[in-house]
Amino acid sequence: MSGAFRRAGLVLGLPVVLFVVWWFASYDSKDFYRPPLHKILEAFRDTWFGERMVQDVLPSLIRLGIGYAAALAVGVTLGVAIGSARWLRALLEPVLEFLRAIPPPVLVPIVILLAGIEDRMKVIVIVSGAVWPVLLNTVEGVRAVDEVLADTCRSYRIRGLARLRHLVLRSASPQIMTGARQALAIAIILMVISEMFAANNGLGFLVVQFQRSFQVTEMWSGVLLLGLIGVALSLAFRFVDRRVLRWYYGLRAVERQPK
């Protein structure tokens, strides 16, 4: 019982402290751009519940979901291919590094040119940025497969799909999950950026609209909502992570047991 309390205390402790301090410190703030926390929370309640949830937040989340899934699929597939074949990596690396270095807001007008202004464009923007951590980490993970295991597989003549599944992917999966986590953060950022240009609905779109019409309190409430969504997705990710990498964490836990 005390274990659960202790866990809850650790999770909530620092955030609660910061929240309380923020509340009191900003209570009668007259600063236009830093409104009092209680006003932000009021705006939060008034702005987001109701129509906006369905009209704007939901489409944003759906686009985020599709973009993220696509980024994972593309990133892992390409990553395994590139990580396994040294020549492919050498061939593509400069091109990929080049594409990755182009900042998304610069890329968006070009993507609009090629993919239009509908949801398809926004998903492509999300994929174009979120794919990189997945790709890079998959490549790293595949490169760093333990030599002893690789040799063992070779002696047992484990090749092809089985080798891919049991050796490569499994070995690389902790690294891939690291990449997937980073990709999630990037995907959220790109969801906002993709809605800054040529959009007419969405969470990011609304936050930018509020900013442009100087509705600062509503804008802050939007930022708060983005943070909450980020936390929720992050927790969901951790849940999935713990299940998928059960074997890895189990292994580490066993190794950590005092002898």
Partner: protein
């Protein structure tokens, strides 16, 4: 104390570097004999040619102003910049300023920025369709997509005015936000049915075969004041003489630019990447020295009718005393 604590927390929580050199105080008067250092936030577009020209001609230096022009990306950056003290003055379109005022931002317009030419069919921005489009009037835009560069701002207000003037129902028009450079391609490919570009994009679309169906600046109000220079009320109260000198220099610059269009074109090539050959073809805005208050009143009414402004703005508080 609380404000400082709040600021400290934000900084700590967001791990920003310690605030170095934020100036939230209005510019202090310089030591005797030295000119005032003034930083003006502008956007690198045609509209601000007069201030560049005025600086080149020495209209500001002669009034003891050491002028620095900083280009930024729009009102969303310039307005906080003026409030935060980075800029003493800023340039912004009037709807953004009305929106800011409606949120009780302490701003004051000091002088005119630029106006519509007032001539239908020969303005620096127009409602355009592609060459072979069947649309010939703004009324036919009901149910169609129109590309504008910023939603819920001045472009939307004036395009709606065009639709209303042509007898159409503006609420049936679907507005799409799109950066200016993308409008030409979007028109050609049919992604949008019409667009509202300003120079240099208007000429570029025209060169590619597009045609104008309405001059929205003109449809909104005669000789519309599109943008203005503004400052914070704090600067207005504490540095009135600087504001007066700046305003006088600006009026001289505006009048000069208006009567010397060739020099205006030349100066445009220095602060943008528009070439001399291109700038010769562009339609310039008009630069009267005085703000057209009636046009602002009309624009505010349009914005309120569209639901963009929720309440009647206090134009007298915003505009300089006549």
């Amino acid at each position: 104390m609380r404000r400082q604590l709040a600021a400290l927390l934000f900084a700590a929580a967001l791990l920003t570097p310690a605030a170095c050199g934020t100036t939230n105080q209005p510019s202090a008067p310089p030591p005797a004999g030295q000119p005032d250092k003034v930083n003006v936030g502008v956007i690198a577009i045609l509209d601000v040619a007069p201030i560049y020209l005025g600086k080149q001609k020495g209209f500001f230096a002669s009034r003891n102003i050491d002028l620095t022009l900083t280009t930024a990306q729009g009102g969303a950056v310039i307005v906080p910049g003026v409030q935060g003290g980075q800029f003493q003055f800023g340039f912004s379109n009037v709807i953004s300023l009305l929106l800011a005022q409606s949120q009780n931002l302490p701003l004051k317009i000091v002088c005119n920025g630029n106006n519509s030419t007032g001539v239908d069919g020969q303005d620096f921005g127009s409602l355009m369709v592609k060459g072979d489009s069947p649309i010939t009037s703004a009324k036919e835009l009901e149910g169609k997509k129109v590309a504008i560069n910023t939603l819920r701002n001045i472009a939307e207000t004036v395009v709606r005015a065009s639709v209303k003037k042509a007898g159409g129902d503006a609420s049936k028009v679907q507005f799409v936000e799109m950066p200016f450079p993308n409008m030409a391609a979007a028109l050609q490919s049919g992604q949008v049915d019409a667009a509202f570009p300003v120079e240099p994009f208007q000429t570029a679309i025209r060169d590619a075969g597009g045609k104008s169906i309405a001059s929205s600046w003109v449809d909104a109000a005669p000789n519309l004041t599109v943008a203005a220079y503004f400052t914070s009320t704090q600067t207005m109260e504490t540095r009135k003489d600087l504001v007066d000198r700046f305003t006088a220099a600006m009026k001289e610059s505006l009048a000069y630019a208006d009567s010397h269009p060739d020099e205006a074109r030349q100066i445009i090539t220095t602060y943008t990447q528009i070439t001399a050959a291109q700038v010769a073809k562009l339609t310039l805005p008009k630069w009267p020295a005085e703000i057209n208050r009636d046009s602002l009143q009309k624009l505010a009414e349009l914005a309120m009718a569209d639901g963009l402004l929720k309440a009647q703005p206090d134009l007298n508080a915003l505009l300089p005393s006549a």
